[in-house]
Symmetry: C2
DNA sequence: GTCTATATAATGATAGAC
DNA sequence: GTCTATCATTATATAGAC
């Protein structure tokens, strides 16, 4: 029981087909002909509506940014993040194309990808501050850098989804993969990986040395 | 004082130019003409040596795989990994093209990218086992899944390097970025992020629920 | 708004001279 | 081995009919 694209305007039908194909195969590997075929219109009509392939991409970017920032209005705390995560995973069809498109935008040199990553870092930093304030998260020295690392870890899971799934013996990244990795991920943030601080001491020393070498 | 490409055969000069451009702009965004121009030869000669663009890519893949597996002969323990890391970071020019190429291979649907990621996971799992055995790493329940998560975190930093650098106010990912993030990364593996295990308990419960819903 | 037909450009690949 | 010239294909984009 899906609404599909029956009630959409032709313009948005083309745009949605483009989002789907750009997200699955990347911008460079997708042709206007592919998009026209998927939207069941002529190639000329695609240009008629969006002027150029670049214009079509911009329209896709704007649309994705719109529906996402609309969703980001919700509070950015851990609980709502988990709710969003669950929502995403429970309705793959709805969010799959959107997620894949964002993934490609982050891998390409795209302004949309930049703003998404930046937003994730900002959100992570806020959650860090809030968590430290309410005692659920340990006080962190370098909160900015830690937020960047945490955001990178999250986004890396999305970008590398194909590899992650394969490594866990799955055909594609999905609910099953998350069920396999969810606990190990949280476990790594709950119990230290290293038995003692020898690696941290070594890292501090290495960077100290690097800094001194830098300034002679 | 660089050796540059003066003493290389024309064939390898073309191949190196291809590795550079494929790594920087991706396979689909690089034309044979671009490569020919970079190698200062005619487009026809590129085809003469490699038969097709796909053939050229295979040659690049083989070459990268060759020099990397040659390097992987070295012991895969934490110390030599850190030495390799330092080596990479101290000689950017030498390894930059290679690293960028591997990064693209991992983002593309490429057999080379697959084997690299798989190798990283295997190496990580070995280091996990060894570290647990010698007491430097805490005993881990699901070692496979944890190795996948750790490998994803590492690889994510490489794939998302551009974003990481930008988030830390740098123009490109390099030694300076690593100096900023090295300690926070190791710190996260040394001290738990969460103050208690409430999130772990919640994650276990959520996955338990998901599993029960699955089987009704 | 939508289509067909076509112009124009870029690209991968071929052929043959040197 | 290397180049120039060219082909064949594919792509974006335009023009004009309906």
């Amino acid at each position: 029981m899906r609404t599909d694209t029956a009630d959409l305007t032709t313009r948005s039908k083309i745009r949605d087909a483009a989002i789907d194909l750009f997200g699955r195969h990347g911008f460079a590997n997708t042709t206007i002909r592919d998009i026209a075929a998927a939207a069941q219109v002529s190639p000329g009509l695609v240009i008629h509506h969006f002027a150029s392939k670049a214009g079509l991409r911009e329209a896709c970017d704007r649309h994705i940014l719109g529906i996402s920032s609309q969703r980001a209005v919700e509070k950015a705390d851990v609980a709502s993040l988990q709710r969003m995560m669950a929502e995403y995973l429970s309705k793959p069809d709805t969010y799959m194309a959107e997620t894949a498109y964002i993934r490609q935008a982050i891998m390409d040199d795209s302004a949309l990808g930049d703003s998404f990553f930046d937003a994730l870092v900002a959100m992570t930093e806020d959650m860090l501050e809030a968590g430290i304030a309410n005692g659920s998260i340990r006080p962190i020295e370098d909160r900015r850098a830690t937020a960047v690392v945490l955001a990178t870890n999250s986004m890396g899971m999305l970008v590398l989804g194909r590899h992650v799934a394969r490594s866990m013996g799955q055909v594609e990244f999905g609910v099953a993969t998350v069920n396999l990795l969810g606990v190990p991920v949280v476990d790594l943030y709950t119990h230290p990986l290293y038995a003692d601080d020898r690696f941290l001491v070594a890292a501090r020393a290495a960077i100290q040395t690097a800094a001194e070498t830098e300034e002679h």
